[in-house]
């Protein structure tokens, strides 16, 4: 059945061109209303990649702010109404919005819009998909929000405009040496380079996203290359993150259990060698002796791969999860282990912080979504509902409880998870109902958690700097999902929340954008208000899917 429920706004081009599998619905219901599939983004139809390739698509949302572009003029930008002859590659056009009134210089020329001032108008850099079928009509609809989707498929990074209805990406960047596997974006980056890309070979690049969008080639431009040919660490990159407020430092996680800390302003030319790790099972940090070398530090976390890393919003803590099944939380600046614990069984694959830094979600090979409390330094809940491994978790930082009175007594969190079972699950975490009864443990039991004899699990105090063993099944209260929705026809690899939508991505590189209740119907007018609010407030800063979520 092809479900065209939200065809009313004419935004369903993707689902009508791409037949849905039977049983895949284009909406799902929650207590607050319907989430509707707004559109899909994917790689061009002709793009071939090995379906069984080792790389899994990850998704990063990038919001480009008002800011002068880097001083490299994009030589071909003036001809942006044309498009490249090569199939599957769309051109990027820049566009001015009339609202812009900044005074910074733009080094490239926009093509339409009333305020076509040559210099002096700072604008939001938009883009349009100049696809042959929908040329200029798309422009009038285009709201100019500079939010982009960055996702990797096979040996290519694709960049799509989140707010355009075009299914195809506006930009593709091909890597000839190895497959890109992870990426991260920092909207606060000071001097241009805001996008990080980690490769299967262990190589890492930092680039300016804006500069990529201005370039019409299929190669990375103006990139800085770190860990060239895996010189420092030749194992696969698994996760990458900017250090919040870190002044251009970033952390790359590798499949050999190490993290490398880099400074983007330094060249990696000087000799960088780290001492041999004596005990693979022990956490250790090594710094480079030379102040000129890059990476500046190596953290040995665990045996086996580090699968995902995430910084708390303020950058104080760094959470890692890995092959050994342990979540570890470090004080980043002190380079100390604070707490952590083992999964029920199997590796952990993803982690994410709550916006207030009190909780960490993890997901892994035990099919469970785990809620870790920083106050208790323990697992406080297990979400049961996936029928395969959990590959992405995220708190919904835009969601506010309808019953919340704002006193903080009844704190409620909404979070989501996706799994290799193709499902998107949404969960509610009500603190006083679930966590508080556990703290003052009563033998009566509550309906929300399994009965069993009271145990020492909740009474025991976990000292700082220790790792907890796997809790047993009966000790951890269980959550049931609020919604379970089969979102894709492939195993999922990540999700992220925006103010208007939930984004899901599958391993094979298809992104679906599910509009929140009340956002789908009047999309075009709504986006105006969304634009103005996001101009007033801090822009939506979204990190890598499943690794970090920032509060708006």
């Amino acid at each position: 059945m092809i479900n065209n429920n939200n065809n009313s706004n004419g935004m369903m081009s993707s689902s009508s061109t791409n037949p849905q599998l039977p049983g895949l619905k284009a909406y799902f219901k929650t207590p607050e209303g319907r989430y509707k599939l707004q559109y899909e983004k994917t790689h061009p139809a002709g793009f071939l990649h090995y379906t069984n390739s080792k790389t899994v698509t990850q998704l990063t949302l990038a919001h480009l702010k008002e800011k002068p572009a880097q001083s490299q003029p994009a030589p071909t930008s003036s001809s942006s109404s044309s498009y490249s002859a090569s199939s599957g590659v769309r051109l990027v056009a820049s566009k001015f919005l009339g609202a812009g009134n900044g005074s910074r210089t733009l080094s490239f020329v926009g093509i339409n819009g009333p305020s076509k001032a040559v210099a002096g108008t700072s604008s939001r850099i938009g883009s349009l998909g100049a696809s042959p079928s929908s040329n200029f009509p798309a422009i009038s609809n285009f709201d100019g929000k500079g939010t982009y989707l960055i996702f990797n498929v096979g040996d290519t990074i694709f960049i799509s405009d989140l707010n355009s209805q075009d299914k195809d990406p506006i930009k593709s960047i091909h890597f000839s040496n190895s497959n890109p596997v992870c990426h991260a974006f920092d909207p606060e980056a000071k001097d241009g380079h805001d996008l990080l890309i980690g490769l299967y070979s262990g190589d890492v690049y930092s680039v300016s996203l804006r500069q990529q969008l201005q370039d019409f080639g299929k190669r990375l431009v103006g990139a800085q290359h770190y860990n060239k040919d895996g010189f420092v660490n030749n194992s696969r990159c698994t996760s990458i993150a900017w250090v919040p407020e870190g002044d251009g430092t970033f952390v790359v996680a590798h499949a050999d259990g190490n993290l490398c800390v880099y400074e983007k302003n330094k060249d990696g030319a000087a000799d960088t060698s780290f001492p041999v790790i004596k005990d693979q099972t022990q956490f250790s940090v090594a710094h480079t002796r030379s102040s000129r070398s890059n990476p500046i530090a190596r953290w040995h976390i665990c045996q086996g791969s580090v699968n995902c890393i995430a910084f708390s919003k303020d950058g104080t803590y760094l959470a890692t999860v890995g092959r050994d099944g342990y979540l570890r939380v470090f004080d980043y600046s002190k380079e100390q282990l604070i707490c952590g614990g083992k999964s029920y069984y199997g590796a952990l694959l993803c982690c994410a912080w709550s916006m207030d830094g009190k909780y960490i979600l993890t997901g892994g090979e035990d099919d469970l979504v785990q809620v870790w409390s920083m106050d208790d330094r323990k697992v406080v809940a297990w979400g049961e509902g996936h029928s395969s491994w959990v590959s992405g978790v995220a708190f919904d930082s835009y969601w506010s409880s309808p019953t919340s009175d704002g006193t903080g007594e009844n704190v409620m969190y909404r979070f989501g998870s996706v799994g290799q079972d193709m499902q998107l699950l949404l969960w509610d975490l009500v603190m006083d109902e679930i966590v508080v009864p556990l703290r003052r443990y009563s033998t009566g039991g509550s309906p929300t958690f399994s009965t069993g004899s009271p145990s020492s699990y909740w009474d025991s105090i976990c000292p700082v700097g220790t790792l907890q063993p796997a809790p047993s099944m009966r000790n951890v209260p269980k959550l049931s999902p609020l919604v379970a929705h089969r979102a894709h026809a492939d195993p999922l690899s990540g999700l992220t929340f925006t103010q208007e939508s939930v984004l899901t991505v599958c391993r094979e590189g298809r992104v679906k954008i599910w509009m929140r209740p009340g956002h789908g119907e009047n999309h075009s007018s709504n986006s105006e208000t969304a634009l103005s609010t996001s101009l007033k407030e801090k822009p939506l800063l979204l990190g890598n899917v499943g690794s970090s979520i920032y509060k708006q």
Binding site: W389, Q420, A489
Partner: protein
């Protein structure tokens, strides 16, 4: 020994542990019949004949099957189990002895250890001209050939073993394709059978004059009881390692009486779904099923057919958990078998939570038998075996060391039509000491 072998040896270097060998067992024409859907084979002796009859029918049906044998992967997996568990049993037995110290345990231990000798050393078999030993003998010879190799890597052709198996069982004589799961069942059941016969014979011989201290106690004051144990299903090393107990609980919805029936198993055959995990398949296996309508339950207390709820729980988790994925399914609409290429992910660590006791038993994956091929009628088997923290890939006479992460390339296909045809088929998990917090 091929070049591949020496390359492997080189790659392993000093890491390759002493006393551990990677011996490939190349193809030989050993066949078993195709698996029949819905058949959940339990290792009960009474079912032996039935199995053979059924298997023959299956073999006939599958006459077009052609190609190689399933022996190498099973043997490869099995050898590893086998050799590892020889040591393991020693430790386990001692522990038990220390804790329990009962005669029965001593007795069993003695039995078990001796059986193991029979199975793996040629000498002890040679000194036992018992007729039924011959099958196990060839298997034992094969195992001892492998374990006594001076070379650390190499290839052994299991000719004698295969010949013997073919001689013993006409099912394996044809040139049809065989099923690894059926072969594993055959091998385990056959071993049990032989070990039992042998121990009975040995017991009969030993009962007049007391020979070993263990049997002395067993035949001592509690002679009758000890003999009783003999008659009961004997606990062989096969049972010690592979056997678990399932309990089938049925609760009558009228009188609420719970009827529990125990069954032993040597492996669990699980139904699979697209894009699911082993955890979820196990959950479905022990999920509650309601018996109603035409399928009511006869409650002994109510003396009538009643609606009831039924569920399977694991009462005694085995030392080695063998999980068989039902990838070969009879599709009624098609009127034939079909291979399900579903993506079923299996973690390297597993816990069974659907157990009767609260304690979660923890397992670690150590071998995977992989079926290569898109259909049920043809294909090839390869296997992955973890040996002293290295994953080894066995494909006939080729043995390669692979990265642990390569295991996930055998999960299956997320989409129905795909070029990937290498799918995990039988998983071997071994129990590890539980570290979970209580």
């Amino acid at each position: 020994m091929g070049a591949a072998g020496s390359k492997l040896e080189k790659a392993l270097g000093d890491q390759f542990p002493e006393g551990e060998r990677s011996i490939a067992v190349p193809p030989a024409r050993l066949k078993t019949s195709r698996e029949r859907e819905g058949r959940e084979r339990l290792a009960e002796k009474g079912e032996e004949e039935e199995e053979e009859a059924e298997g023959r029918a299956g073999a006939y049906e599958a006459a077009q099957f052609l190609e190689r044998t399933t022996l190498p992967p099973v043997l490869n997996s099995f050898n590893n189990t086998y050799i590892d568990h020889k040591c393991k049993i020693g430790v386990k037995g001692k522990k038990k002895e220390a804790f329990l110290g009962t005669e029965v345990v001593c007795f069993e231990k003695a039995k078990r250890n001796r059986s193991l000798e029979v199975a793996i050393t040629e000498d002890s078999v040679a000194c036992r001209p018992h007729k039924s030993c011959s099958r196990i003998h060839t298997f034992g010879v094969l195992c001892s050939e492998i374990s006594s190799q001076k070379k650390k890597t190499g290839v052994i052709a299991p000719k004698r073993f295969v010949q013997r198996v073919k001689k013993e069982n006409e099912l394996f004589r044809s040139y049809m394709h065989q099923d690894a799961h059926e072969f594993l069942n055959f091998l385990l059941n056959e071993l049990v059978d032989i070990l039992e016969k042998e121990s009975r014979a040995a017991a009969a011989k030993n009962s007049p004059e007391t020979s070993s201290p263990a049997e002395k106690t067993a035949n001592g004051p509690r002679n009758l009881q000890a003999n009783g144990v003999h008659r009961e299903p004997l606990v062989t090393w096969v049972h010690k390692n592979f056997q678990g107990i399932l309990t089938n609980e049925t609760r009558c919805l009228r009188c609420e009486t719970v009827t529990a029936r125990d069954e032993t198993f040597l492996d669990l055959s699980l139904d699979i779904e697209q894009n699911s995990s082993i955890t979820s398949c196990l959950k479905n296996f022990s999920s509650t099923e309601t018996l109603n309508a035409e399928d009511k339950f006869f409650c002994d207390k109510c003396c009538s057919l009643q609606e009831a709820q039924k569920r399977m729980k694991i009462k005694k988790p085995p030392q080695i958990l063998v999980i068989h994925l039902k990838r070969f399914k009879y599709i009624e609409q098609l009127g034939r078998y079909k291979k399900l290429s579903y993506r079923v992910v299996f973690p390297l660590e597993l816990k069974l939570s659907n157990t009767v006791e609260d304690a979660d038993s923890e397992y670690s994956l150590f071998a995977v038998v992989v079926h290569v091929g898109s259909g049920p009628n043809h294909g090839h088997y390869v296997s992955l075996v973890k040996s002293h923290n290295h994953w080894l890939f066995f494909d006939d006479e080729n043995v390669e060391m692979i990265d642990e992460s390569a295991v996930q390339t055998f999960f299956g296909s997320a989409q129905e039509y795909t070029s990937n045809t290498d799918h995990g088929y039988i998983l071997f998990y071994e129990r590890v000491a539980t570290t979970s917090q209580t």
